[in-house]
Amino acid sequence: MFLAASLTGPDIPWSHLLPLLILLGSTCALLLLGSLVPTWPRIGNVVVTMTAAIASIIASIVDWNHLYWHKGDTFIADAIAIDRFSVFATIVICVAVAGSALLMSAYLSRTDSEGPELYALFMTAAIGAIVMVSANDLIVLFLGLETLSLSLYLMAASNRRREESQEAGLKYFVLGGFASAFLLYGIALVYGGAGKTSISGINTSLATYVSLHNTDGMLLVGIGLLMVGLAFKVSAAPFQVWTPDVYEGAPTPVTAFMASAGKVAAFAAMLRILTVALGSRADDWRPVVWALAILTVFVGSTMAVVQTNVKRMLSYSSISHAGFILVGVEAAGHMKGNGLNSSMTYLAIYTVLVLGSFAIVLALSGVNDSDTTLDDFKGLAKRRPALALAFSVLLFAQAGVPFTAGFVAKFGVIKSAVEVNSYAIAIAAMVAAVIGAYLYLRIVVSMWMEEPTSSDEIVVAAPVRWVIGLSVAATLIIGIFPGVLLNAAELVRFAPR
């Protein structure tokens, strides 16, 4: 009793936490309804999830407008930072939740599975992701990361009728745990080097003690370990090895979610840690990000060249995209650069592209979720021209063809790199993009220039159609009128330190 009395808890900024609260509440509600109401309709799951996601988006937009004047701040004893960065990322994550949940509904009805657990996991993953993007404390960040990761492990392994799914889950889990340990060790050593686990605190501390002596060793190796963990999460080469296997094995909606929300959260965490906490050590980590970026773009695009499974191709392409975002991260290490904004723009656009792309893969992948080879895409233009066109738009967007959102994204990061004189990395990324384009062209060739191998009717469920349609529309609209998105991304800032 006396303990409680002597405690003066920190203020809780409830309004800023609305997205988290909405999602958490919906999770609990969903689980309760699903287990307690016997006649709970299957469609209720996706409705609740969508409602939660959309409500969170709305709450975030309201918050965004609020933050338009207030640059944001840290709350709850510096545990989290609510700023335009975190709100922007939150919106993107919620969009990913909404899209993936729609896909999941189609997926589940096709595989005749049920249960609200997967939707609940989407939402807990989103909670983890949102915590990650707004964490102002390495421990909080770690907890968010684990919440996200554990949800993802489970989702990846969730199709228990499909062995690949379980294999993916286990691989992801083992390697994820391995990488988490590195990350955690990094947190520990950075804690040792800077004396804090708070991100803004580390920034102050590193700025205060310009320690030319001694703790640098521990601090820097700590940063290194941190970056190993983060690089794993963003699937930067050579830490990308898990990505293709897990993306291929996981149920397609989950893959879409991992590639979108998972990436957003990981990159957001990376950006916040590197630029806010370790901004003063940019000279140390920028070369590493530089190398990671170049390695990642090349590994991603090169390895995709000989693949024959479209889902796997897209996972390699996601690695390549991660490399591009790393280009932006590298630029963000420069004080004057706007790598932060361009990386976030890239992530937002990539989320749209990846949802649409995997929606199409889902549409074609058949009941057992395995018809995803190039052969299955042959002659799609003859079978379903609209679907082929939509996929082509999304693929060309990923390749960075103008008038699509993908170009805006690529242009943005290259611009931010060039503006801070990182020419080599910009050129390397562009060259890798050319190699990567081969991958997209191969899929396009299959769809448009080859004869169909099967004449089965392709049934595209309504939710999938919605996702594809919205994603293609967004791709083109952003590609032609990127102004709104760019202006919003220009405002993305961290809370004042």
């Binding site: 421990i139 392994a157 286990l170 686990t197």
Partner: protein, 105 residues
């Protein structure tokens, strides 16, 4: 004479580093997923030890708080991990990590 030597924080940190290394090694050399998972626990323990040592040497309670949370995470991870492993092992009894390699290339 020996008692004159006081183990400093560094000693503990070194032990933790070695423990972490052994854990890392274990993940790579063991084939049984359960044992691999135990090795990850070793790594987490190394981190815990580091946190506590640093907490002590800096006289800062936050290190211990971190350990508390790590333990929670470890517990949750174990639950989830064992859940996945059980669901796999129920279908393929005695499968090792090496047997799960259908996804590759």
């Amino acid at each position: 004479m020996l008692s004159a030597i006081q183990p400093t924080s560094t000693w503990y940190l070194v032990i933790a580093a070695v423990l972490f290394g052994i854990g890392t090694l274990g993940v790579m050399v063991r084939r049984n997923p359960l044992v691999m998972f135990m090795c990850i626990e070793l790594m987490l323990n190394a981190v815990n030890l580091t946190f506590v040592t640093l907490s002590k040497s800096m006289a800062d309670i936050n290190g211990q708080v971190a350990v508390f949370f790590v333990m929670v995470v470890a517990a949750a991870e174990v639950v989830v991990g064992l859940g996945i492993i059980v669901s796999i092992m129920r279908r393929r009894t005695g499968a090792t990590a090496d047997d799960l390699s259908a996804l590759k290339g």
